[in-house]
Amino acid sequence: MEKPVLKMSAQDLKFYYGSVMALKGISMAIRKNQVTALIGPSGCGKTTFLRCLNRMNDIVEGARVEGEILLDGQNIYAPEVDVVQVRKRVGMVFQKSNPFPKTIFENVAYGLKIDGDCSRSEIADRVEKSLKDAALWNEVADRLHESAIQISGGQQQRLCIARALAVKPEVILMDEPASALDPIATQKIEELIQELKNNYTIVIVTHNMQQAARVSDYTAFFYLGDLIEMDKTDKIFTNPGNKRTEDYVTGRFG
């Protein structure tokens, strides 16, 4: 297997909510076509870090960022960078599935219609492909023009993944994508993540230790705004280098 190449990296990233420092200087490498899991107790900064990766924290009032996040070597926080372009390249799936109250088709097409430069047939093709890639096509092919609100929770979350895929991102950020789903829907999402990593780089926040162990190649353990340890997932779960990591992954705290 060829050595994974770097897709994104954080360099001494500090994040403040007002005067509160939520990330205390995170440096981390995110490798291409790999799944990176972010774990840690509530309030440790893992979701904040995830939302820095596509600058979703920009919309938080009083938020401030220091340090750099590189995407293919380019600092996404550089003044000349267009945040809209960053978010097209780095997509996001939220903790609570958030289908828009439109039809299934319109949900997936939403991102494609933003610039208005896709033809109708292109949009239709991309919607179909995205739904197939998100393993949802077979379940919704005959009701694309029905409301997206009426499908099940697991289907909604896969719809949100399809919606993110449609704009052809390079990186997909997932914020506890299965935390509100039942075990079967969760399993489908996890299988999907394994499929997707062939074409995308994935960063996933999860509270579920087994999930991190199952789906990820690399795991980063956050604690109180610090990155305590990051390594291959096997190593983190079998032979962690840090006592706090070991205590957390073995369930002694958190």
Binding site: I59, V84, R87, F94, N98, P101, Y110, I114, S147, V167
Partner: protein, 283 residues
């Protein structure tokens, strides 16, 4: 006295308050309906007043109120809607925004006669719009703005943050996200607020008193720069200014009934529109 009894007593008192309010409303409606229904006829609705307002109908007043309402809506809705979008979506929370909001809330407490005087100065004199449908409509528009802005902001608040974030995360600009993924879902709420504000404006006398409403006009208005007759002002004249108040009392009640009917119609259309829009969204 047992706890259960105290609780029942409390509930009974609360219920009595609610019933009392309904009772007042019922009495007013019944009084106006029973005294006004007698004069209501097609002629009453379609004819101008005759014989010094002691006979004939109130058509010019209905038309005038209708035309003024159109100006009010055309002015207040876009302005109020976009002001609300600015305040809710763009303005940074802080001192200035708080002051603006406070000012808007306070505006809704300004007596309507003050709006009337302001309308005279601004629209009639400074802008040379004359005493006209336009001036009166704009004055009523100002009067409804605080309600419109507040209602629109409340409607924007009900749109989940997840819709905005979801759109932004797909690479939408802020305005694109608001236009395609926030406003469509806020519009039913906005409409409801706007129509209820209009219902209130349509019944106002003071703001149109100096800005365009006429005691009596032999002709219907030909353009928005003409004076007009209006239902609330007509009612005011019939009830207090007429030389033979006792004789025109039935017509006054009929006018009140028509005005009430119009306002109820507006309220119901607000409910209907909202319902229709929500049905449409599900599809």
């Amino acid at each position: 006295m047992s706890k259960k009894f105290t609780e029942r007593l409390g509930f009974a008192l609360l219920a009595a308050c609610a019933v009392l309010v309904l009772l007042f409303l019922g009495i007013i409606l019944f009084d106006i309906f029973s005294k006004g229904i007698g004069v209501i006829s097609w002629n009453f609705l379609s004819q101008p007043p005759k014989q010094g307002m002691t006979e004939g109908g109130i058509f010019p007043a209905i038309l005038g109120t209708f035309l003024v309402s159109i100006i009010t809506v055309a002015f207040a809705v876009p302005l109020g809607m976009f002001a609300a979008v600015y305040l809710h979506e763009y303005a940074r929370p802080g001192r200035t925004t708080r002051m603006i909001r406070l000012a808007i809330r306070n505006l809704s407490g300004v007596p309507s006669i003050v709006y009337g005087l302001f309308g005279v100065v601004l629209f009639v004199q400074l802008m040379h719009l004359g005493t006209s449908i336009l001036s009166a409509g704009l004055t009523l528009g100002l009067l409804t703005l605080p309600w419109t802005i507040t209602a629109c902001e409340e409607a924007l608040k009900t749109v989940p943050k997840a819709y905005r974030e979801g759109a932004l995360a797909l690479g939408a600009t802020k305005w694109h996200a608001i236009r395609t993924n926030v406003l469509p879902y806020a519009i039913p709420g906005m409409l409801t607020g706007v129509i209820l504000g209009l219902a209130r404006a349509a019944g106002e006398t003071a703001p149109i008193l100096f800005t365009g409403a006429a005691f009596f006009l032999p002709h219907l208005p030909g353009s928005i720069f003409d004076q007009f007759m209006a239902l609330p002002y007509h009612l005011y004249i019939l009830a207090t200014q007429h030389h033979d108040i006792a004789k025109v009392r039935p017509i006054a009640y009929g006018t009140a009934l028509v005005l009430l009917g119009l306002i109820l119609l507006l309220s119901f259309s607000a409910i209907w529109l909202r319902y229709r829009y929500r049905q449409g969204l599900k599809g």
